[in-house]
Symmetry: C2
């Protein structure tokens, strides 16, 4: 069973290919319904072939039939239109953090059917499993999807995830927490494939999908921790399994990778915790600054960026330092990967243009091709969205037998 053999087969396989071609054409234009004539044009197949495939897909529940469009007042007999029946195989995305559980349900076309968040002040591992179950049920009932319809689940986990076993290294967030228990638990609730992946990877997938899917994307998740996901032409790059761990990049002053400490040098230098600490120090050194006014004793990361946005020179110096450290750490990877865009998400992304411009200025000096530098538009929902996206990809890959075909005319 050497994988990767070029498939061959009889006419039944041909039928499967053509049905898949029709389904794929419908998917591409989702959510707009299509007339059969349009499908004929797009697939290059004959009308009877398409009609037969459509019948079959209608029976199987993958497509749904629409009445004639009342807005489309054209001549002749009105065409029957079909569109993807999203409910045929809805998927579920799961984002579990120590203080927040988010569950999203999406239909086949990628429409969000429901999105339920629940926050709490630190659960134990056991409680967390219970909460997850509740939130899943809530999301399902809000989406009006029975549990047994769910076709795939993807869960997000911090740390480094082994793609196949689902084993996780470096997870500090919840004591006693195990992703394997999570998978088992979810498998008990929903009878379908359950996969697990790194949260930064999933966020990257969501952002890449939102940007159109082509090119190389480096999606940075910047909060207390620092990670990145790499998406190349719509596909996640995993490397050996730990790709994108930018938090462990050495800085000019710190290059210690300690197995005891789950955080790396760059995280220690520019994580949200570190930014707040730099801000506090700067406020102490300059008590009359706007920064000190804004923050007081409990000075926060947000305060630093707020003061910098108000052109406080003390805060701006802090931002400048953070941006410089970050840009110098990231520049080598930008040179090597040469991405189309670098997108920054996570808590620190709320800093906005102040930080982005500072990074952009530094990065411009250190790279050849300057990638677009953007903030993530998806904000905190990026991870769940990416989880749903990956679950969708899984479902589609199972359903469509041929991924692509090079024209040989």
């Amino acid at each position: 069973m050497s994988k990767g053999t070029v498939g061959g087969g009889g006419t039944t396989m041909l039928r499967r290919i053509n049905v898949a071609a029709v389904l794929d054409a419908v998917r591409r234009s989702a959510p707009a319904p299509l007339r059969v004539a349009e499908l004929v044009e797009r697939t290059g197949l004959a009308r009877p072939t398409v009609a037969q495939a459509v019948d079959e897909l209608l029976d199987a529940g993958w497509l749904q039939q629409h009445g004639p469009d009342s807005a489309d007042r054209s001549l002749g007999r009105p065409a029957i239109r079909v569109s993807l029946r999203g409910r045929a195989a809805p998927v579920l995305g799961l984002d579990v953090g120590p203080h927040r559980v988010t569950v999203g349900v999406s239909d086949l076309a990628g429409r969000k059917l429901s999105l339920v968040r629940r926050s709490g002040p630190g659960w134990t591992a056991q409680e967390l499993l219970g909460v997850i179950g509740e939130v899943i049920n809530e999301a399902l009932s809000e989406a009006e999807v029975p549990a047994e319809d769910i076709a795939a689940v993807v869960a997000a986990s911090p740390g480094i995830v082994d793609e196949h076993t689902g084993r996780v290294q470096l997870v500090p967030s919840v004591p006693g927490w195990s992703a394997i228990d999570l998978i088992k638990h979810v498998r008990g609730l929903l009878d379908c494939p359950v996969m697990l992946d790194n949260d930064a990877n999933l966020a990257a997938l969501a952002i890449a999908a939102a940007r159109g899917g082509t090119g190389t994307l480096l999606a940075v998740q910047w909060g207390e921790r620092l990670g990145a996901g790499i998406v190349i032409d719509g596909r996640l790059h995993r490397g050996t399994g730990a790709a994108g761990e930018i938090g462990f990049i050495a800085t000019d002053t710190d290059d210690v990778i300690n197995p005891e400490d789950s955080r790396g040098p760059l995280e220690r230098a520019v994580g949200s915790e570190a930014i707040a600490a730099l801000g506090r120090q700067a406020a102490l050194d300059n008590p009359q600054s706007r920064l000190a006014e804004l923050g007081g004793e409990q000075l926060d990361t947000a305060d630093v960026f707020a003061a910098a946005a108000e052109r406080d020179p003390v805060a701006q110096a802090v931002v400048q330092q953070v941006a410089r450290t970050f840009a110098r750490a990231l520049a080598p990877s930008v040179l090597v990967l040469d991405p189309t865009a670098v997108v920054i998400g996570g808590g620190v992304a709320r800093a906005g243009a102040v930080l982005l411009d500072a990074i952009s200025d530094q990065l411009r000096l250190l790279t050849l091709n300057h990638p677009k530098l953007e903030l993530s538009a998806l904000a905190e929902d990026a991870v769940v969205t990416g989880a749903m996206r990956m679950a969708l990809d899984e479902v589609w890959q199972r359903k469509l037998p041929t991924p692509a075909m090079t024209s040989t005319t």
Copy 2:
């Protein structure tokens, strides 16, 4: 004509698919000839289908028939065996440097038919075109392949290459030299697709193929200049077009990217020129060292590594410094890419274990997953080999309609 449509079609396409499946099966086992029964087993097709496909491929010249194997003394009627007829579509690879032109001809199965090198003490652009023509003809006649049989050509060029237009930026090597002229010239000699790519990319492709094709490879070309190619699961990663330009990574003491200077900070710091300079300085500072003895006035890069291999502490210090600078520059990319292996080729690779071990020690401190660190086994032929490889990929991609197919059983 939106690209990427899932292909569908009639029975003639089915036939094409099955013929391609048979051809692919033969290719996979090349150069070993296969019996029809084996093809039946490997493709999963019925015997008449395979037989018909084999007939067709024999007529078209893609396969050649072998007599029964005299060594295989089994019962029953001896089977006729078929194998890839490499001469069906030979390809040509071209590596053009300022002082050396290398041309290789390969058959479809990847066997080298000929490899011709010619060195000269600096040609003008006009002379170079002439020399290229001569060397191509020499390689063709040595391989006994008529020029009109060549199915694809790939030429290697230093600098950053635009994949489609063939335009090149940053080429300092030969004054008045233009890769566009090269392509025109070759198109005039050989009537087939001519492509151009970065030499580091092509070397990476060759090394990846030699290693088996899966996983992520970072292949460094380390000579006077410094570049790298990235191959992910057998496919080249180009980014926007300038991926792998590690020569421009900033060092601790130098981060200037000057459009005037075609070399980047890391090249200036650890390029072979810089290593020699460091060695000369060290020799001056320590006149009684083995390094000073070996090198004298005209101390070379090779002398530094030779002295270090003989455990000269002065030379070892130089190597240590080079390794440290290199490892610190490369570590971020290793963290982000998380490659299966890092392979070092080019002139400096001749340094051998002395340098490799030093780099390995440094890299181990700065990364999470430690990739295999190796020297390129292909030495100076890596670029031509990669050029032939890419030309082969091009030919196969044109011939095989379906690249892969996910089994849906």
